[in-house]
C-alpha cells in the first residue's frame, strides 16, 4: 500500500525497488486524492477525499474484523486494546466509509481482504498522512491495521514511513527533537537524564522542550524572544507565511546558520555561513530504513563558511565553555557511547558494510533490517503494542461557497521543498509554479493552460499560471512549495497543526480561483527558479 505518497517522484530510487516487487508479482494499492505518476503503476487506485484517511483506515479495519480476517493469534499475543478498537470502528461500515472517503465500498473491501490475506504486506506513507491537523491519528489508524493483521515485525511486512529528507530520521535519532536525547532516549526519564548529565557535566532541564509549532506560539505569546535557526528556511517553508514573517521579524534576536542567505537569513541579526554538510564536511546521515551512512567532504566550502561543528564549538567557547576542537568522528564516538542503538557502528564498519541499520548495540551485531521483531518472540519481549482509537476529523479549513476548491500541496520530481537547493540547477522538466486544476474546474472557470489566475484562501491570495491536470478530480487543485520567490504558496496554507507532532495541515487548504481578465494567456509561466 502506498498511502499519501507520490514516491515515483519524491523517492524515485525506492520506487525502483517497489517496481521490482511488482515485477515479481506484488500487488500495489495506491491511496492518494490525485492520480499521480505513482498511481499510474498501481493495480488499484483509491482516490480518497483529502483528509479522510482515518475514515478509510477504520473502514478497512472494520471490514477485516467483520470478515473474520483478523490475525487473532497475533492480536491476542502481542497487542492490547483490541476490544475498544473493535467497538470504535464498528460505525465505519463499507457504506459509511464510501460516504466519508468517496472511495467505492467494493474497492475498500478489496483492499481490506487483500491486505489481510497477503503473506507479506507493507504500508508505505509520506506527507499525505502527516501534513494534517490530525497527523498522529492518521498514523495510528494505519498502525492499527498492521496490528490487526500481524503485518509488522516480520521480514517483508511492516510500516514504512518514507522520510522526505536525507537525515530527518538521523536528526531525530541524534536528539534534535524536543523530548529525546540521542538514541530515542526520553529526556523526562530521571535515570537517562542522570546518564547524560554525568557525560556532559551539566544540569539538563527535566522537562521536554518545544517543537517548531510551539516555538511559533511562544513567539506569538512573547515568551520566546530569541531564535537560532540551523539549516531551515521557515520564512518560506512554514504554513501561513504572513504570520511566520510577522513573528520572525518581531523577535528580539534571530541567528541563522545556513549555507545560503535564505529569506529567513535576510531578516536575521546574525548570519553564520555554514558548510554544506553532505559534501563539504564529514559525518553521518540516517536514511528512511534507519541505515546510518557516512557523508564525506569532497569540496572546500566557499569563503568564510565553516563546518557546523566548528561554529557550534566556537559559539560554546564564547559562551564560556571549552569543548575543545572535536572532529565529526569524535562526536560520533560520543554518540556510540551514549546510544545503545548506535553502539556497534564504528566508522570502519559503516564504511565496510555500506552503512548499518539501528539498533546495532555491539561491534558484533549485524544491524537490524527489520524492527519490532520482539512482537513475534516467544514470549513477547517488552510491552504489547496497543491499538489506538481514532476517529475521522475532516480538514480544519472547510470548504464553503466562498472557498469551494480543495488545494493540496506536494513535490515534483526535479525540485525540492522551497527550492533553496534545486534552484541551483536548470531542469528541463521545470516550468515554475502553477496551480493545477481539473479539466472540469478549468472549463467552469473558463481558464486555459498558462493563463494567470488569482488563488484566494482565508489567509491571503497569490497569482499563478494554470496547468490543467487530468489526474485531478473536480474540486481538487494542486500546488508545490518549490518556487516561493515567484508564487508564495504558503500565503494560502493554514497553520492548523497536529497537537502532538506540530505538523501543519499543508495538505488541505480551502481556496477559490478567480479568473483575471488578462486578454492574452501569459507565456511559459513563471520561468525557471
Amino acid at each position: 500500500m502506498l498511502w499519501g505518497s507520490n514516491a515515483r517522484e519524491t523517492h524515485p530510487i525506492f520506487f525502483h525497488h517497489l517496481l521490482k516487487g511488482k515485477q515479481a508479482g506484488a500487488r500495489l494499492f495506491a491511496i492518494d486524492p490525485r492520480r499521480t505518476s505513482s498511481v499510474a503503476w498501481a493495480d488499484v487506485w483509491l482516490g480518497l477525499e483529502v483528509g479522510s484517511d482515518v475514515a478509510l483506515a477504520n473502514a478497512i479495519g472494520r471490514e477485516i474484523i467483520a470478515a473474520g480476517l483478523c490475525n487473532m493469534a497475533f492480536v491476542q499475543r502481542a497487542t492490547s486494546g483490541f476490544e475498544a478498537y473493535k467497538a470504535a470502528v464498528e460505525e465505519y461500515t463499507l457504506t459509511r466509509g464510501e460516504e466519508l472517503t468517496g472511495v467505492k465500498a467494493e474497492v475498500i473491501r478489496d483492499l481490506a481482504h487483500s491486505y489481510a490475506r497477503a503473506d507479506r504486506a507493507q504500508i508505505c506513507w509520506t506527507l499525505g498522512i502527516t501534513e494534517h491537523h490530525n497527523a498522529v491519528d492518521n498514523v495510528f489508524s494505519i498502525i492499527n491495521l498492521s496490528l490487526l493483521t500481524g503485518h509488522v515485525g516480520r521480514f517483508g511486512s511492516g510500516l514504512v514511513p518514507l522520510r522526505g529528507q536525507n537525515n530527518v530520521q538521523g536528526g531525530g535519532d541524534m536528539g534534535a527533537i524536543p523530548n529525546k536525547f540521542v538514541g530515542g532516549q526520553d529526556v523526562e526519564d530521571p535515570e537517562l537524564r542522570a546518564l547524560f548529565e554525568r557525560e556532559y557535566g551539566a544540569t539538563i532541564p527535566d522537562k521536554r522542550g518545544w517543537h517548531l509549532s510551539q516555538m511559533f506560539d511562544g513567539m506569538e505569546a512573547g515568551t520566546l524572544r530569541a531564535v537560532y535557526v540551523l539549516g531551515e528556511n521557515p520564512m518560506q517553508s512554514e504554513a501561513d507565511a504572513k504570520r511566520t514573517r510577522r513573528l520572525l521579524e518581531g523577535l528580539e534576536h534571530l541567528v541563522v546558520q545556513d549555507i545560503f542567505l535564505t529569506k529567513t537569513a535576510e531578516v536575521a541579526d546574525v548570519v553564520l555561513p555554514a558548510a554544506a554538510s553532505w559534501c563539504e564536511s564529514e559525518g553521518t546521515v540516517t536514511s528512511s530504513e534507519r541505515r546510518v551512512q557516512r557523508v564525506r567532504k569532497a569540496l572546500d566550502p566557499p569563503g568564510q563558511a565553516k563546518d557546523d561543528i566548528e561554529i557550534l564549538t566556537a559559539l560554546a567557547h564564547r559562551l564560556g565553555t571549552d569543548w575543545g576542537a572535536p572532529t565529526a568522528h569524535d562526536v560520533w564516538e560520543e554518540v556510540r557511547r551514549l546510544s545503545p542503538w548506535h553502539g556497534g557502528m564504528s566508522y570502519a564498519r559503516l564504511e565496510a558494510l555500506n552503512g548499518l541499520q539501528w539498533p546495532c548495540p555491539t561491534d558484533e551485531h549485524p544491524g537490524s533490517p527489520t524492527l519490532h521483531t520482539r512482537l513475534w518472540s516467544e514470549p513477547i519481549e517488552g510491552p504489547r503494542a496497543s491499538f489506538q482509537v481514532v476517529h475521522h476529523s475532516p480538514p480544519v479549513d472547510q470548504l464553503s461557497e466562498e472557498f469551494p476548491l480543495r488545494l493540496t500541496t506536494g513535490r515534483r520530481l526535479d525540485s525540492y521543498n522551497t527550492g533553496v537547493q534545486t534552484g541551483g540547477y536548470t531542469s528541463p522538466l521545470r516550468h515554475g509554479e502553477r496551480i493545477e486544476l481539473s479539466p472540469e474546474d478549468a472549463a467552469r472557470l473558463q481558464v486555459v493552460n498558462d493563463e494567470v489566475v488569482r488563488v484566494v484562501s482565508r489567509r491571503g491570495a497569490v497569482t499563478a499560471p494554470v496547468k490543467i491536470d487530468t489526474g485531478l478530480r473536480p474540486g481538487l487543485t494542486f500546488m508545490t512549495l518549490h518556487f516561493p520567490d515567484e508564487v508564495e504558496t504558503n500565503i494560502l496554507t493554514i497553520d492548523a497543526v497536529d497537537p502532538k507532532s506540530g505538523t501543519a495541515e499543508f495538505k488541505a487548504t480551502a481556496i477559490r480561483v478567480e479568473k483575471l481578465n488578462v486578454p492574452e494567456p501569459v507565456g511559459a509561466g513563471g520561468g525557471v527558479h
Partner: protein
C-alpha cells in the same frame, strides 16, 4: 537475535580452463570465471542489468557446443568443460572488438574496453579502410552530438549499440521507456520516440543511461563542455563517496571532483540501495554548492 538457517543451495561442478570448480546452481559462467579470478571482457554486460547477449565479447568455448556461448547469461551446468582462452575464443573476441571499434569513435570508452582491445590485438582499422564508401565505414554512423538540454548530451557516433541505456531506462531500473533501438542493420540507432529531442520525450533525466554507458556516447553536459574546452582532466579528479542531500532513501553518490568542483556524479553498482541508479536530483541537483560568486 534468533538464528536464521541459510537456505539449502545446490551446487554444480564443472571444469574451467582445466580446473575443477563448484558453484551454486544458477551461477553464470561469467560469475564462475570471476570467482576463479579469470578476467573476462564484457561490453553489454553490467551487474545491475539483465544480460541481453548482444555484444558477444564475453563468449567462451564449451566442449560439445557447436557455437561459442555468451558467458554472461549461460548458467553453469554439471560436468561442463569450459575454455576461456582457446584460439577460437581469442579469435572471436578479437574479431568482435574489431567490428565494434570499426564503426564507432572509442576515444572516450571505458579504459577496460580499450585494454581488452589491446589484450586481444584488435585492429579495428582492418574494417575501416574506406574503400567501399570512399569516406570510411565510420561515416555510416557519424553524426553530430545531440545537445538539446543542459544536463546531458548524446553522441551516437560513439554508440556500440550495447543496449545498456535502453535497459536502464526500461524494466531494469527506471521504467521510463524514453529510449529504444530504432531502425535495422546499419541504420539501427538508440532513439527517443520519433527521434524527438529529449525535452519533448518521456525522459526524466535520471541519467541512469549515462551511468551504464561504456563508451561515453552518453555524457554529462559538464564533462562534454570541459572536453570541448580541453579542461577535462580525469587524472586530476578525486572521487568521494557521500550521501545524496535530498530525500530519505539514502543513495550513495560518488562525487567526481576536479578543481574543487563536482564535474560528474555516479553511484556504485554494487550498493544495495541504488544498484548504481539515481534520480535527477541526485545525478544533477548538486550545482547549488558551486554556484559561487
Amino acid at each position: 537475535m534468533e538464528a536464521v538457517p541459510l537456505p539449502f543451495v545446490r551446487t554444480v561442478e564443472l571444469t574451467i580452463d582445466g580446473q575443477a570448480v563448484r558453484v551454486p546452481e544458477g551461477t553464470t559462467l561469467l560469475h564462475a570465471c570471476q570467482a576463479m579470478g579469470i578476467d573476462t571482457p564484457t561490453v553489454c554486460y553490467s551487474e545491475n542489468l539483465t544480460p541481453v547477449n548482444v555484444c558477444r565479447v564475453c563468449v567462451v568455448e564449451v566442449e560439445g557446443s557447436r557455437v561459442l556461448v555468451p558467458s554472461c547469461s549461460r548458467p553453469a551446468e554439471p560436468g561442463m568443460v569450459v575454455h576461456t582462452d582457446s584460439d577460437r575464443v581469442r579469435h572471436s573476441r578479437r574479431l568482435v572488438l574489431e567490428l565494434l571499434g570499426s564503426s564507432v569513435d572509442l576515444s572516450t570508452a571505458e579504459p577496460k574496453m580499450l585494454a581488452d582491445m589491446e589484450r586481444y590485438g584488435a585492429v579495428p582499422e582492418r574494417f575501416d579502410t574506406g574503400e567501399m564508401t570512399g569516406h570510411g565505414a565510420k561515416a555510416t554512423v557519424q553524426q553530430p552530438v545531440k545537445v538539446d538540454n543542459n544536463l546531458y548530451v548524446r553522441d551516437y557516433s560513439k554508440c556500440v549499440l550495447c543496449y545498456k541505456c535502453v535497459e536502464a531506462c526500461g524494466t531494469d531500473a527506471q521504467n521510463t521507456f524514453a529510449i529504444a533501438v530504432a531502425g535495422r542493420g546499419f541504420n539501427a540507432t538508440i532513439a527517443t520516440e520519433f527521434e524527438t529531442p529529449l525535452p519533448d520525450s518521456a525522459c526524466v533525466y535520471c541519467g541512469n543511461c549515462i551511468g551504464v554507458c561504456p563508451t561515453g556516447a552518453l555524457m554529462f553536459k559538464t564533462e562534454h563542455d570541459m572536453r570541448e574546452a580541453g579542461t577535462w582532466n580525469e587524472s586530476a579528479q578525486k572521487v568521494t563517496d557521500t550521501i545524496c542531500p535530498y530525500c530519505g532513501v539514502g543513495c550513495t553518490l560518488q562525487l567526481h571532483v576536479q578543481d574543487n568542483s563536482i564535474v560528474r556524479v555516479t553511484s556504485p553498482h554494487d550498493h544495495d540501495v541504488t544498484e548504481g541508479h539515481l534520480c535527477i536530483k541526485g545525478r544533477f541537483g548538486w550545482q547549488f554548492v558551486q554556484n559561487r560568486p
